[in-house]
């Protein structure tokens, strides 16, 4: 079992290497933008031609990865910053009303399609990059909080927590020191799938023009804006599209390979620990979205 897993890990790494390197190092490698020339030309001193306003496509590609990756990372972090305390508190509290107060509003948010929520917000105010990160984080909070609570509730029901409580340990020590530490593995598995979903949402929102300037150097925006010249200058569309495909695919493959084995333990459908998965199934119910 060890060998195919390493193979998959290496494959995921290979797929993500190019887009990630471009996203992280691209802006440093890109030189002087140079003068604008005619739109949608091929060749003529531009390795990948020019885009819809006559900028060099290769330079745009070098600059365009960073916003996608950084926005996605920021949104994922923000989502957990809210979801972790909410999930931990509602799993550890003995006050039923507090749990209901924290979790029920989130059930309601789950009912609204994510992209619809983002578009609704985009109708009334024009979110910048920070606004887009906030919106994407917001639509991810309900599901993340639900998962944290399901995993933490299982850990909180263990005798060890009861012992800590009887010893008069502080709430902090129980919640963070014991329960928080024991949910790290399901949390890591969830973070992988969540980052993939967030990348999807960030890129799709940017493609639809939410949270980005109309001429921004961003792979998703490049695909959208250069589509009109697809038949004249396909490189301006194909290269950023391929990079987005590689980035999202690679993220998913990499996390799946890295977390193979315990990926499902945090989900209600696990098999390896029957007595705990039964609790998880009851707590998380069917609403945890894979």
């Amino acid at each position: 079992m060890k060998k195919p897993r390493m193979g998959r890990f290496a494959f995921g790494l290979a797929v993500i290497a190019v887009p990630l390197a471009l996203a992280l190092l691209g802006p440093a490698l890109a030189g002087d933008p140079g003068p604008r020339t005619a739109s949608f030309t091929v060749g003529e001193g531009h390795w990948l031609g020019t885009d819809f306003v006559g900028r060099d496509v290769w330079l745009q590609v070098l600059h365009g990865g960073r916003p996608v990756v950084l926005t996605a990372l920021a949104a994922t972090t923000l989502a957990y910053l809210v979801a972790l305390p909410v999930g931990l508190v509602s799993a550890l509290t003995h006050r039923r009303w507090l749990e209901e107060l924290l979790m029920r509003p989130l059930d309601v948010l789950l009912a609204v399609p994510s992209l619809l929520l983002i578009l609704l917000a985009a109708t009334v105010f024009s979110p910048g990059v920070a606004g887009l990160a906030l919106l994407v984080a917001l639509v991810n909070v309900p599901d993340a909080a639900r998962l944290v609570r399901a995993a933490a509730a299982e850990a909180a029901a263990r005798p060890a927590v009861e012992a800590l409580r009887m010893q008069g340990e502080t709430w902090w020590r129980m919640a963070v020191g014991y329960v928080g530490r024991s949910i790290l593995r399901p949390l890591a598995a969830d973070a992988g799938t969540r980052l993939t979903g967030v990348l999807y949402l960030v890129a799709t929102a940017a493609f639809l023009g939410v949270g980005v300037a109309p001429d921004a150097a961003d792979w998703a925006v490049m695909v959208d804006r250069n589509r009109t010249g697809l038949f004249v200058q396909p490189w301006a569309v194909v290269v950023p599209a391929l990079l987005i495909v590689a980035l999202t695919m690679g993220t998913n493959l990499l996390f799946d390979a890295a977390l193979a084995g315990d990926r499902r333990s945090g989900r209600p459908r696990g098999t390896e620990r029957p007595e705990t998965t039964e609790t998880l199934r009851n707590r998380a119910g069917s609403e945890a979205r894979p």
């Binding site: 195919p4 998959r8 059930d107 309601v108 948010l109 009912a111 609204v112 399609p113 994510s114 992209l115 619809l116 929520l117 578009l119 609704l120 917000a121 985009a122 109708t123 009334v124 105010f125 993939t196 990348l199 999807y200 890129a203 799709t204 493609f207 639809l208 023009g209 998703a220 695909v223 959208d224 589509r227 697809l230 038949f231 396909p234 569309v237 194909v238 599209a241 391929l242 987005i244 495909v245 999202t248 695919m249 993220t251 998913n252 493959l253 799946d256 499902r264 459908r269 098999t271 199934r281 009851n282 998380a284 119910g285 069917s286 609403e287 979205r289 894979p290």
Partner: protein
């Protein structure tokens, strides 16, 4: 029986609460703006006449709760409001865009169900072998890819390089059924993510079910393999997959918006994007309520069906 009834009652109640919440959420997100909403909605170049018109049309001089009450009463009577941009009723916008979107969604679901379930069962049957590894890896990889990136790449290959299919649906209007070639790429792109998630879930469910004690017991009794697979394991594996099917509606919706933009199909997604671009709040609100309520209803239906398929599984309410 009482347990079933109380589950159904609780789930229905949750559905009602969610519907009310969707309406409230749509209203607060779009209208409870800080400052003067009319100025914000008039756009980057505010024209005093337009501000006044928006204020008048949206009754912004009245308190928010009164406007919410009026709007909600209108919704109850099937009145979704009037467009700020054109003065036409929102229901007319929805009627215009409904056909193409329904066609896309129906075609996608019609292909999605057999292909998704089929791939999942096939992979589970050959667990660990080449077929399974192939299906598992491909679904895992494609599952993460945004529709627009996949869509333009498919256009580049099939329309630009090979010239087999038209690049967009421009020129076909709403008569898409008469031009099946123009529908190929949109449906293919729409299918990409839901098929993967459904197949993966179905595979996991089948493998779980086939490893369960009742299947071992049936094997000991000498029940045939096919019968065990399709009469015993399949219904239990179907329950979570049915719920996932409803949850992919969320994706199908974002997919429809992207695919309609990409292939220039005049459906509800295009109507929504145009309204967002024009800041036509009533149209966006109306569409959001329709989409939101549809999602709530589909999830409700799926939970009830899943409960019927596997009553002992604690379906959340």
């Amino acid at each position: 029986m009482t347990a079933l009834r109380s589950f159904v009652a609780r789930r229905l109640l949750l559905g009602v609460v969610q519907t009310v919440a969707v309406v409230l959420l749509v209203f607060t997100l779009t209208e409870a703006l800080p400052g003067d909403a009319a100025v914000a909605l008039a756009g980057d170049d505010p024209d005093p006449a337009r501000i006044a018109a928006i204020r008048e049309a949206m009754h912004l001089d009245r308190p928010a709760w009164e406007r919410l009450g009026d709007w909600a009463m209108g919704l109850l009577h099937g009145d979704l409001g009037t467009s700020l941009a054109s003065g036409r009723p929102v229901s007319q916008y929805i009627a215009d865009g409904f056909g193409p979107t329904l066609l896309l969604a129906a075609l996608t679901v019609a292909v999605l169900v057999p292909v998704g379930f089929g791939l999942g069962v096939l992979a589970a049957r050959h667990e660990g072998r080449l077929v399974d590894r192939l299906i598992s890896s491909v679904t895992l990889a494609v599952y993460a890819v945004p529709e627009f990136a996949l869509g333009v790449l498919l256009v580049t290959v099939f329309a630009l390089q090979l010239g087999w299919l038209p690049p967009t649906a421009v020129g076909f209007g709403t008569d898409l059924l008469g031009h099946p070639a123009a529908l190929m790429l949109p449906v293919l792109v729409l299918l990409s993510r839901p098929v993967c998630s459904l197949a993966r879930l179905m595979r996991a469910g089948m493998i779980d079910a086939l490893a369960s004690p009742y299947v071992s017991q049936a094997r000991r009794y000498g029940v045939t393999g096919a019968r065990i697979r399709y009469a015993h394991a399949l219904p239990n594996a179907l329950a979570p997959a049915t719920q996932q099917l409803a949850r992919t509606i969320d994706w199908l919706l974002s997919g429809v918006i992207v695919v309609e933009a990409l292939y220039v199909i005049p459906g509800l997604g295009t109507v929504l994007l145009n309204a967002v671009a024009e800041r036509d709040v009533p149209v966006v609100q109306g569409l959001a309520v329709v989409f939101g309520v549809l999602t709530v209803a589909l999830n409700l239906g799926a939970d009830l069906v899943a409960h019927r398929l596997a009553p002992r599984a604690g379906v959340a309410a």
